[in-house]
Symmetry: C2
Subunit: 460 residues, 2 copies
Amino acid sequence: MPTIDEYLAAHASQFEDDLCELLRIPSVSADPARRPDMERAAGWVADHLRAVGLTARLIPAPGPPLVYAESPPVAGAPRVLVYGHYDVQPPDPLELWTSPPFEPTRRGGNLYARGASDDKGQVLTHIKSAQAWLAAEQRLPVQLKFIIEGEEEVGSHGIESFLAEHPEHLACDCVVISDGGKLTCDIPAVTYGLRGIAYYELRVTGPNRDLHSGSFGGSVTNPANALARILSAMIDRAGKVQIPGFYDDVVPLGQREREQLSSLPFDEAAYFADIGVSGATGEEGYTTLERRWARPTFDISGLSGGYQGQGAKTVLPATASAKFSFRLVPNQDPQRITAALRRWLPGVTPPGVQIELVDWHGSPGVLVPLDSPYVAAAARALEAAFGHPPAYTREGGSIPIVLTFHQMLKADSLLLGWGQDDDNCHSPNEKFALADFHRGIRASAKLWEELGKIAKQAAS
Amino acid sequence: MPTIDEYLAAHASQFEDDLCELLRIPSVSADPARRPDMERAAGWVADHLRAVGLTARLIPAPGPPLVYAESPPVAGAPRVLVYGHYDVQPPDPLELWTSPPFEPTRRGGNLYARGASDDKGQVLTHIKSAQAWLAAEQRLPVQLKFIIEGEEEVGSHGIESFLAEHPEHLACDCVVISDGGKLTCDIPAVTYGLRGIAYYELRVTGPNRDLHSGSFGGSVTNPANALARILSAMIDRAGKVQIPGFYDDVVPLGQREREQLSSLPFDEAAYFADIGVSGATGEEGYTTLERRWARPTFDISGLSGGYQGQGAKTVLPATASAKFSFRLVPNQDPQRITAALRRWLPGVTPPGVQIELVDWHGSPGVLVPLDSPYVAAAARALEAAFGHPPAYTREGGSIPIVLTFHQMLKADSLLLGWGQDDDNCHSPNEKFALADFHRGIRASAKLWEELGKIAKQAAS
C-alpha cells in the first residue's frame, strides 16, 4: 500500500481533473435559471463523497439542497465538521474573462474558473485528503462530517434553518472552514477573530413636503443638514465613537497580541496603493491592522436625500437618510449598542425633525481561543504542508455561519484558507493556484492526523 | 366717453371671458408635445396686445417665441417695462384636479385653471389696464413696453439671450412684474428684496472602488463619513456659517427695517403648521421672517453615496456627494463666497480623500431702494385699488430675471403680485380670485397714472 503522500503524488493530476469537472457546472446561486445546475453540483459533490468512501446524502431545502456526508465515529477522537459551499458568484462581466468562466483553464500554474478558489477548489481539498486517508490507511483519524451548502453567496438560508431545527445532526468538536486566503503566498494563516456588526438606517424627516430652499431656507430645520450633523457627531476626529457606553464591553488589545499583530509581514504601502489612496484616517493610537481587525468602527454605507440628478435643484428636502454600521469586536453586544444609540440620538437631533432608526441586523464578533488544542493541531498541519508556521490573523468582516456554529454547536471554527488575496474571488478571472490546491490537500490530510491526537472532549 | 373706472366696470365680464380664452390654451413649456400650443398662446397674447391698441410682434427664439409690444413714447414720462410669462407648469397629477386644468371653471369667486394665477391672469391685468386707458382716455400716461416670455417655468433662456444681445430694445426706467402674491388676501405688497444664491456640488472621492466595510473599515477614510463631517462643519448649532469671510459683505439689518418686518401680520404658528413641523432651528438672534428673507443660509439640497436600495449592504463607498447652496443677501458676491469656500475646504478635508467642488450657479441678491419715486407711485396705486397701503416685504428666493433687468437695463423692478399664498401655483387646482383679477386691473391702471407723474429721469 502507498503512504498518504505517495497516494497524493500519484493522483495529483486526477484530482485536478476532478476539480475541473466540478468547476464546469455553472452553479450560480443568484441566478434562478441555474437551479438545475445547482442540483447537478450538489449531486456531483454527494456522489464524490460517496465514491471516496463516506456516507453521503442530499438534504432538501427551499433553495438548493445541502450536501451532508460523514465517516464512522472514531472512539476517543474528536468529531470534525467541514463546512464549505458549492455555489459560486455570478461570472459577470463576461467580457473581462480571458478564458470562459465555466471552462477551467490552466495558465501559469493557476487554474482559472469561477469557483476555483471560492469555494469549490478549497472544499475539494478536504474531500481529497479523506480519499487519500481511506485509500492509503483504510481509516480516518477523526470522524469527519461534511456540510456543503449551495447558498453561501446568497444568504445561507437553508443551512441556517437546518441548524436551527437539527443542530444534533452536525454535533462536533470543531469546525474546519477553508474559504479564504493565506497571509501571503507562502505563509499560511489561522484566522482566530472576526468582527461583529450592527447595521442601521437612520431616516430624518422634516417638513411634510420638499420645500423651495429660497422661500423657506433658514427658517426650517433641513433634514439633510440635521442628518449630516448627527452622523458627524457619531465619531470624532480621532476616530472615537462618541456614543456613551460604546466602548464599555471592548476588551483592550493585550500587549502580546499587539506585538504579534505588528510582527506580521503586512505591507501597508502596498495595501494603500491597491486601494488607491495616498493616506488614511482611523482610530488614533492603533495600527492599520488593528484598525481593520481588532477595533470597532463607524462607517456610513449609504447616503440618500433630496435631489440627486444632474445639475442643480433648489430644494429643501422633506427627508434624508443614511445607512451605516458599527463593526464590533468580540464581547461587544449589538443589542446593547443599539440601546446606547437609541439613548444618544434624541440629544443630537435638532428641533423640527423626526428621526426613525431601523435596526437592519446585528451579530457579535467571534474569537477562537488561541490556546486551544485544535489551533495547535492546525498550526502543526499548516507548517508541515506549507513549510512555514502559520500567522495568526483576525478578519475585519463577519462570517455569520461561524457565529451560528459557535452558538448552536458550541464549537469553534478553524478558519484555514488556502487561497491568495489576488484570487479574484468575486471578480472576473477567478483562479486558484494549483500549488495551493495540492498544498491544501496535504495540509488537510495532516490536519486529520493532528486532530486525531487530541483526546475527545468529555462533553462529546 | 366713460371714465376708466366705468370702462372697467362695464367690461368686467368680457375681461374674464378673455382670460378664459387664454387659459384654454395648454401652453406647458416643459412638454415638447405642447410646442404648437406655445405658438398659439404667444399668438393670442400678441393679437390681444394689438387689439388693445399697442404695436406688437413675436420675437423668434430657439424655444417658444417672446411676445413684445409697446405704446408710443410719452414725452417727459418714464418708460415702463411689463414683464410676465404665458407658459404654465405641467398640470400633473391630473386626477387631483376638481375641474379640468385647461377648462377654466368659476367656483366660489375663483377661477380654476392651470396658469390662472401663474401668470396668465396677472399678465392680463396689465394688458386690460392699458386697454381701459386707451379706450377711455385715448392715451397712456407712460410708455408701456411688454415682454412676455414662454420659458419662465423652464429657465428663461430665450429672454436672457435676447437681453444679452439687444438690451436697447427693452430700455426702460422701471420694470413691473406681477407674478406672485399679496401679503394677505386684502393687504397688497411691494417686494423690495430678493436673496441671491450660490449653488454647489461637493464630490468626495476615496478608494478606487467600493470596499467591504468589514475587511477595510476603520483603516480607510470613508468618503461618506468625510462628507458628513465637512457638511456639518459648514454651519454651527447657532446657524452661523463657519467659512471665514462669509459674512464680510453682509449689510446688517437696520433697526427700522427689523421693526418694519416684525410689524407685518405674519402668523408663525400657521406657517409651521402648513409645513408640518412642530419646531425649527435657524440663525440665532433673528426672527423667522428675517431668516427667510434677509439672512444668508446654508441648505443641503441633495445627498448621494453608496448603497441606497432596500435593506443593508456592507459597503464602504468609493465616493459620496452633496448638492448644497448658500442663499445670499444683497451685497454678498457669489464669486467671493466661492473663493472663500475653496480656501476653507482643504482644511476640513481629512487625509485619504479627494474633493471636487462644482460651482453650479450663483447670483447676487437684489434690493430695490424703498425711497424711490417708483415705489412711492406703486404704493399709491396699490392703496387706491386694495383699500390698504402695501406691506413692504422681501422674498427668500431668487428671481434671476430681476437681476438681469437690474444688470442689463439698470432698472429696478416693482414686484407687485396680485395672487394669494393658496393659489396652488405649481399644484393641482390652481386658481385666481376673480376679485384679485379685477383689483389687479384697477391697481395697474392707477399705477400707470402714478408713474406718469414722475418726471422722466435725466439719463433716459
